[in-house]
Symmetry: C4
Subunit: 209 residues, 4 copies
């Protein structure tokens, strides 16, 4: 349980997220806030191969304080979306996942993902086993930065949710620190798999046992 | 086949269980008894990242003998459930898994999971290939510690089973030592996948070839 | 491509087979012949954790030449089944897998598994893309050693096949060396997955494109 | 993001592709162009175990400049297919994958794979979220080298595609460098899984949300 610096932690978590299928094809990533600085993985690179020298440092207004030591890297277009969670919720970390199970959740559900009566719901802030979790789904756009406004609205309109699904795209999940962001992403991913299997079995994911 | 101390073994097994999908989202875990001491993984942490300094030591009455060297860690609410198996069955190790295949077994079956005529059944204590395995399913509760009594009853009522499924939650599996607990958890997980695939194919998991 | 001694190779391959789902729950394993000695993984142990000190050495009549340095290990009941392939086919290595896809192949097919028109068929000795692969399926028995005679008959009756499926159990696959045994096991496992997905899609695995 | 020499990179990528299910059973592989030399993995070997000493070096006409240090290795029959992409498209790297999801795409679609309205489409050169990706499918042949002409025709006829699917076989994907080739293979593999899940759900992969 050693506390690792975000520069070391982000590459390690990206390798893990790659193995989980959250950031293949250069998609997905993570941003972590520590001591007033936002640390962010670069864009368009093999996420399972990044190193400490590839991390961007930004201030809380989204301006780059320190570019990566590795030349030629670009800041991700997700940056404004990560900052929505940092600013509107005071998040300590934000994860963007392209998990195919999150994607399929946006196919099975139109505007809101709903699930109830599963133990893993208890891993989400403020929810208990008997509650119905609701995660808003926003439409996808041609460019990632164009999602910023509709994501911000969805965050405001759903104060109980620490995540926003993007249709046919993936999910943004945050938490007070990287541990909570990761825990909530894992719990949601499990709940998306559960929902898919319930639907394949002709049942509903809000079905009560 | 080196004998490893539970303090080293629990972190290694938790990493392996994480990769198997048994303890994502901080759920799941393992407790091992050795020389009159119960060693237990902490609660609410990234299970694939724990180290020797994070392990609790308890006596056989469930009292903490030694808190982890790492500050701020909490004993899991599963503790009384682990102790059911230690006390009622003299278990040497207990595994708690959130495997989604175990979860789906509690959806497909109402009160008892049943499977027959699969080789992996022979990995379960006291069962042969032609037998029908029966694993009891208890209802889930708002808090994990509230499961203790119904789990204790299910253990008493099912002396042939070394496991109790918890509805929409997961499973507790034990054995005379960690090897048997792990073997039986792996065999049951395989049998849950088999049952799911049989049901998806329009067949029954107690179907005789 | 370093040539590794079977004592080092068997533990490494068992770890790999565990990750592939071929030898969980202590099931499955591998035996390799080299310089007139048969090297064999022990029975009933965590296959992903064995070491060089755990390997049995047998002569070509199946007698133990050298027990493992680790005390208390047992020779597998599969031993006579491995020896069927060593004796009847002059195999250099035999793999026993509990892959759930092999198991499901024995559910979907009654007595013979058949597949055709898939590139991976070319990885099987003597088969081309347009051929129909046939793998015999024998009934399972209460004890593994009781399979020896029916497996021997199936080997004799199917000279074109380097594998025998065991109903609701798994598969035995061999080759002239460990590389061919492993290649053929991987190709068959892929073909079993293909067959399952074709059947789930309402198609036949011998369907011609 | 260290630049690695193709001799070191090819074994590392082959291990990764093996874990992804792209090159089991000795199938699949990768060729990389650097400084006027084509580096290529050998044929018919355990792809997750190759080392620097196993790599072929060829000139741009497909002639072997330098055989591997390891004796007895054979050049892959895929070689002319890799060279189609090097010559017709000036590719910097070509990946051949036996992914079962790519295979199933050639079952679900007859002559052209089509998918639309998925974020991962943006990982493919020249495509946006709202576009319909089209990947040509060519019939398989008894020997891999016989695919060369029909693959060359498919490349000419589909200038917008950086990939050719081979019926009941797999896929060839290329890019200006190994990063783009790998990114595009990962994105396509994700899109094949998506298409399969949409079809299993009774929907179409070109369905508009």
């Amino acid at each position: 349980m050693a506390t690792e610096h975000p520069r070391a932690l982000i590459p390690a978590l990206c390798r893990q997220f790659y193995d989980l299928g959250w950031c293949t094809g250069t998609g997905g990533g993570i941003a972590i806030r520590a001591d007033g600085i936002i640390y962010m993985a670069p864009s368009g690179v093999q996420k399972e191969r990044i190193s400490e020298a590839d991390i961007f440092e930004l201030d809380l207004d989204g301006q780059v304080l320190k570019a990566p030591a590795t030349p030629g890297l670009k800041l991700t277009e997700c940056s404004p979306l990560f900052f929505n969670a940092f600013r509107q919720r005071g998040a300590g970390a934000v994860i963007h996942s392209h998990s195919i199970d999150a994607l399929m959740a946006t196919v099975h559900f139109e505007t809101v993902f709903r699930v109830s009566h599963v133990e893993m719901i208890k891993g989400l802030r403020g929810y208990g086993y008997y509650d119905t979790v609701e995660i808003p789904i926003i439409p996808n756009t041609a460019r990632e930065c164009e999602l910023a406004d509709s994501m911000a609205e969805a965050i405001d309109a759903n104060p109980q949710a620490d995540a926003v699904l993007v249709q046919r795209h993936g999910i943004y999940v945050w938490g007070k620190d990287w541990q909570q962001a990761k825990t909530q992403t894992e719990c949601l991913d499990y709940l998306f798999r559960y929902a898919d299997r319930m639907i394949q079995s002709g049942r509903s994911p809000v079905d009560v046992p």
